[in-house]
Amino acid sequence: MAKDHHENLMSDFSDTEYTSNERQPSNYSPLQSFILAKGDQKHYQQQYGDMYFLRLAMLKPSVEEIAADAWEGAEIAGETVRRVERVLDVRQGEFCWVAGTVYRDMPLKPNILDDISKDHWISAPPPRVKYISQSGQDQTMLEDESGRLRLIGNMLQTTMLVTGCVVAMMGTENANGDFEVVDIKVPDLPRQPQRWEREDSDAALANGSGKSKSKIEGRPAGGKVAILSGLEINGDEADILAIDLLMEFLLGEACNQNTQQDVGSISRLIIAGNSIKEATLLAPRDEPSDKKASKKYGYDSAAYNPAPTAHLDNFLATLLPSIPITILPGESDPANVSLPQQPIHPAMFPRSRNYASVPGAEEAGWFDSVTNPWEGDIDGWRMMGNGGQPINDVFKYVEGDERLEMMESLLRWRCGAPTAPDTLCKCKTANPRGFGKKTDVFHVAGCYPFQDKDQFVIEECPHVYFVGNQPRFETSVIEGPAGQMVRLIAVPIFRETGEIVILDTETLDVEVIRFSVDE
């Protein structure tokens, strides 16, 4: 009968209560490690030499401790190995070990002189995928404040070394003055805090000694964290279906009831860089503009396109009522070029900033625009992540494409951006004289010259280390000498793969969800 068939449609009002899905709350407490002073307080008078000195001074004690444990009293060919204070104190024929900073001298590294050559010749040299020279012209050296020591040996081929990592090396000086390396030791993973350690210690301090109330209270089970990177919204395509699918999924509008309940357990979204990608080229630097660009309302409308930021703002504002978001700037985002990138200014998000905290407030807001690299606590676990620039730069120094190995090495070197003052950070601009070449890569200042403390040195081992904008999704767990366990996550570019990563904070397991549109 018609009535039986269509009993759900065209029926009287019923009293069945449909349970509404609630999203799990997220316990969120970011750290301000990479925030720089603002305005006049930020100085640039210092040189990068201070940064290398600080890095060495901070990491030398740890690496020497590990080296002493391993090599003290060791004998090679009847000779005992002894410790040497400075790099230049090594003596020919004697086995000794010394700690210093690695420097890789590569002729194919971007050189500021290339920029000058562009003025004289037709075009700058083409951008390179890797800096390794095939003809073996690369040299590896160990450096400290006394001088540099050229390194040779088979250990160098098997160990991953980039400029800026602090290591201890054992070996001997040969007749040519080169140091033959026998063994290498790295500082390895630092001390890892316990889960909820920061909250507990803060609570203990607040309540006074002996009263740890919050510890006794059962902590709510943590939800899941969605990590996404490489949205690459540009001004040309107004409506990208994959991003719409993502929005519907995260809002709990897509799929069936079961999936929607699972989505309810996603308590936070982290966007790890490259949300906006400028598809149109910036105006060429050198050619004088033939006609004065008409500046109406204070900006040149021919060159400036407000569409990408508007799209991103809409995307965020649609999601924000339902889910808290942490957004990191990336290489192509409108933030400063040098690391550590400061948070994207709230002026970019006219609608989303209503969900952000008042500037100067203690608590982080529902919508948190943070630095790149970023460190913070989510559901008690210490998380550390960046937009991919340090790893992409390390990729240029080493053979192969083992992203997880590079991420592991970064943590074991205890340095978040080892190549930072040397080669990190390039900015893509149009090459006016490039024949048929659309973009060219110019070398810009790598990072802020820290003078008091090298912020990139990793002092507390995170539980989760995620890196955005990687070519493919990869994950693994690494172990440290003191039982530290770190989950490494390489987050793929959403624009290319359509994948987002879901991290379960109770088990630290990772799963991938892919959004794709059948063409």
Binding site: Q45, Q46, Q47, G49, D50, F53, L54, A57, M58, P61, E145, S146, Q451, D452
Partner: protein
């Protein structure tokens, strides 16, 4: 090649000077044992001002070379001996005391006190102040101690505090001096001297 022409006329005026490769003047033999004469020594020590005479062509002027050679006769023996004398400064027996010996004696007689007096007089002549105070010496030594990091681009006090914070144990005496200089409003002691040198800009007119 053009046909060689024989010289028919004896050149009255010498067209070109040539070198003397033969003759007693250029004898390359061992020096003789006879002690050098005073005259020859004085000739040897004084710089030879006259250019060495040219050796004319062998087929002409045999007589003239002989005269030339005699004028600038510098036997090899005293030349070698004079060289030795300059190196070792021993007295040649039976010779007249030379200018060098007298001066040496006088120099030996000058006392230490006189040397000091001379130098003090020279220092006083200087218009620019010379020398560093003890405080400045201590601070400069601290600047150049590379184990505390580069001294350029950072104030001395800040560098000391930073080194202390990193556990590098900078000497406490340097902090004493820095605080004293801070108290005495000495602006120049705030930054390292080399920092000022490196950051000055030279304006080229």
């Amino acid at each position: 090649m053009p046909p060689a022409r024989r010289k028919s006329t004896a050149p009255s005026a010498r067209a070109q000077q040539t070198l003397a490769f033969s003759g007693r003047a250029n004898k390359v033999t061992k020096p003789s044992i006879a002690p050098p004469s005073a005259k020859s020594i004085s000739k040897a020590s004084s710089p030879v001002s006259r250019p060495s005479t040219p050796h004319p062509q062998e087929d002409a002027q045999r007589q003239e070379p002989e005269e030339e050679v005699e004028e600038v006769e510098i036997p090899n023996a005293p030349a070698a001996a004079a060289a030795e004398e300059q190196g070792l400064a021993f007295r040649v027996q039976g010779t007249k005391p030379t200018l060098h010996d007298e001066v040496d004696e006088k120099a030996r007689k000058v006392s230490d006190a006189q040397v000091k007096r001379y130098w003090r007089a020279k220092e006083e002549e200087r218009k620019a102040p010379r020398g560093l105070s003890l405080n400045e010496k201590i601070l400069r030594h601290f600047d150049l101690s590379s184990q505390f990091g580069p001294c350029i681009g950072i104030a001395r006090m800040k560098r000391w505090k930073r080194a202390n914070g990193l556990g590098l144990k900078p000497p406490i005496e340097v902090l004493t001096v820095l605080l004293k200089e801070e108290g005495s409003e000495n602006k120049k002691a705030e930054r390292a001297y080399v920092d000022e040198l490196m950051s000055t800009r030279l304006v080229v007119e």
